[in-house]
């Protein structure tokens, strides 16, 4: 997708003006939040599971080189081919080369954020391969021509009424009614034949298992297995941070992922894959290619962004983010939206083109609170601001007002004079009404909110009078 993070403010204005966006977001986030809260309340071991998960990821990251080598060796032993890509461009080339070598015309795809990150859609288009998205939400946005707006629910920005219109327009046999089950049925009718006839399947992986060489997909629709079983070749593109040491370590995450993402104890379909079909197997691909993608993950390992590599892409942070809930995922203008995206986008594509993302956050801390692997997202966003500030990237107005304010705030006596003067000024503006509806230089506040009229005299002035 085309990144538009540098136009964040315009994106926000546009998002806030969209008539049905907020409705669509509210319908989904309300349900996801309450379901998550309920399933976590029913899981007394949650705190320890979360702590264990964090420790496992930290341990794996501490020994990432070891585990990657171990994974590679075991995956090759299972019959898979393992490729390494430092950049999205390299990953795309590996994928298109395989497609060309296979003479592939169609590829079915299981939603994966890493696929979006490396631009798999563009790659397939270039290679002349027809791409068929099989995840229901991805199917919706493919028909609509939209980028995903959420990492678990890519079509969160659409109301069911909009989906109904879209299907009526694009499906061969659309449903007669607009209710959600009928829409799901319509998609089933449309997609079913396509699963069985594709040349290639492409998926991501939620976890890699070092000591078996397995990779895992989790879905609720069952589209991963329907997608990856029939075609003769299965390509997996996956980030190197998805590693865990063993099957039993993966179990810890499987218990957390679905709870955090959609509020269920486990996803309906959890599949462990080990290479191509065995002698005598009646189905399964003949060739399996695993593409291990770095794309700045090894850079993140070396600085304060390291904890971000614990992320299991559950989406809880965005479901609970007030900014995401107000404007949805598209406003962020990048593959990964919400709090985790505001960390990842600068890390993967540079701070210059995504200056606003770390700043457009109230640092309320809810994302960290709900994160199943306890990623200190607010702290990292703040550290990114410090990195920006040190690089002289703060806007001139911010830098200038900070300097003036710092000059006063570090000189208490002078500060007293200034606040005393401001107190008088604000009271003049309030004209005794208790509130102020316009203040020079503070239009951002007073366009939509009143400012209280200050009392006569600052606290320090009044205190001095009273006590001395």
């Amino acid at each position: 997708m085309k990144q538009t993070s540098h136009r964040f403010s315009q994106n926000v204005t546009r998002a806030l003006a969209e008539p049905t966006l907020k409705l669509a977001l509210d319908r989904t986030t309300t349900l996801l939040r309450s379901r998550r809260a309920r399933v976590i309340a029913d899981f007394p071991q949650y705190a320890q599971a979360r702590e264990t998960a964090q420790k496992i990821k930290d341990h794996t990251l501490d020994n990432l080189g070891h585990y990657l080598r171990q994974f590679e060796q075991n995956a090759i032993a299972s019959g898979a081919q393992v490729h390494w890509a430092a950049t999205p461009a390299e990953a795309r080339k590996i994928v298109t080369d395989i497609c060309t070598a296979e003479g592939a015309k169609t590829a079915t795809r299981v939603k994966s954020m890493l696929g979006e990150e490396i631009g798999i859609g563009e790659a397939l288009a270039e290679a002349g391969v027809e791409r068929i998205e099989t995840d229901l939400a991805e199917h919706i946005i493919q028909l609509a021509g939209d980028p995903p707006s959420h990492i678990v629910m890519p079509a969160m920005h659409k109301t069911h009424e909009q989906v109904a219109e879209l299907f009526a327009d694009k499906h061969a046999q659309p449903s007669a009614t607009q209710d959600v089950p009928a829409l799901v049925e319509s998609a089933r009718r449309e997609l079913r034949p396509k699963f069985l006839n594709a040349d290639i399947s492409i998926s991501g992986a939620n976890f890699l298992i070092a000591d078996t060489g397995s990779f895992i997909t989790v879905t609720n629709e069952g589209n991963a297995e329907l997608t990856t079983t029939p075609p003769r070749t299965h390509i997996v593109t996956v980030g190197i941070e998805k590693m865990v040491p063993s099957l039993k370590h993966a179990a810890v995450f499987l218990r957390l992922l679905s709870r955090a993402a959609i509020g269920t104890e486990i996803t309906q379909y959890t599949t462990f894959y080990n290479g191509p079909k065995r002698a005598g197997d009646r189905d399964g691909p003949e060739r399996v290619h695993i593409v291990l993608v770095d794309n700045h993950r090894s850079d993140m390992l070396s600085d304060f962004l390291r904890p971000m590599l614990r992320c299991i892409r559950c989406g809880a942070c965005m479901n609970h983010c007030p900014v995401y809930s107000a404007v949805g995922g598209h406003a962020y203008g990048a593959v990964y939206p919400g709090p985790m995206g505001s960390v990842l986008t600068p890390a993967m594509t540079g701070l210059k083109g995504s200056k606003d993302l770390p700043n457009a956050c109230t640092l309320n801390g809810r994302c960290k609170e709900v994160c199943p692997v306890n990623i200190p997202l607010p702290d990292m966003l703040r550290s990114l601001r410090a990195r920006q500030f040190d690089a002289g990237m703060a806007s001139p107005r911010t830098a200038w007002s900070l300097r003036l304010w710092a000059m006063l705030a570090t000189r208490p006596a002078l500060y007293r004079l200034a606040t005393g003067a401001a107190n008088i000024g604000l009271r003049v503006l309030a004209r005794g009404r208790g509130k102020i509806s316009a203040v020079p230089l503070a239009g951002g506040w007073t366009r939509t909110r009143d400012l209280p009229q200050p009392e006569a005299g600052t606290f320090m002035q009044q205190y001095k009078k009273k006590r001395h």
């Binding site: 939400a137 629910m153 297995e225 063993s246 290479g275 065995r278 189905d283």
Partner: protein, 216 residues
Amino acid sequence: MSRDAILAKIDRVNGKGDPSGIAELAAALIAEPDGFRATFPDRPTYERFVAKATSDTVTATVEPLSGLSALPAAIAAYLTENGLAQHIALQPRDSLTALDWTGFETAASARMDEPVAVTFADAGIAETGSLVFQSAPDAPVLLNFLPLHHLVVIRKDTILPHMEDAFERFGTLASDQQRSLNIITGTSGTADIEARNVRGAHGPRYMHIYIYCIDS
């Protein structure tokens, strides 16, 4: 080559270190699994499995069988009750094909719009009400995904408390792994439109589980 460059970069940050001892460290992290998984000390494994499998999130139905030989009659009744033709896609596994299927049309693979498939689960997981299917020449994967009605047979003594127990059962080494291990919990569902739960997204809409004890 990107492989070596990526690994070299990681080693530079982490230090290459001595790989001995890593396995022990990793094992210590999960030495006490009951601290981080749902436990059910007061409930027999079987009961927990049934309660979870039939819960309103998993939505399966469960039927006890006196023995495997009672399966064809039970399936015939299910098909009749649901107004389905007496046609089933039957997993080509000896224990199933050896049964008396007189009166049924059976096929070893599923068609694109298969209404009913019957497959054997290799294990159950009581913690979550899940079923485990290991792929094999007589256990193709698609049979579990294509039908609208997924009828599953499981032996009661293969229902295990936790996912970890299932891994133990099938082996945790690389060489133990078949092509795929499916852990299936209920039916195909989606919440992709306004987070509303709908069943029968791409795969099965109904799951019915027959549980039997070994004929003695």
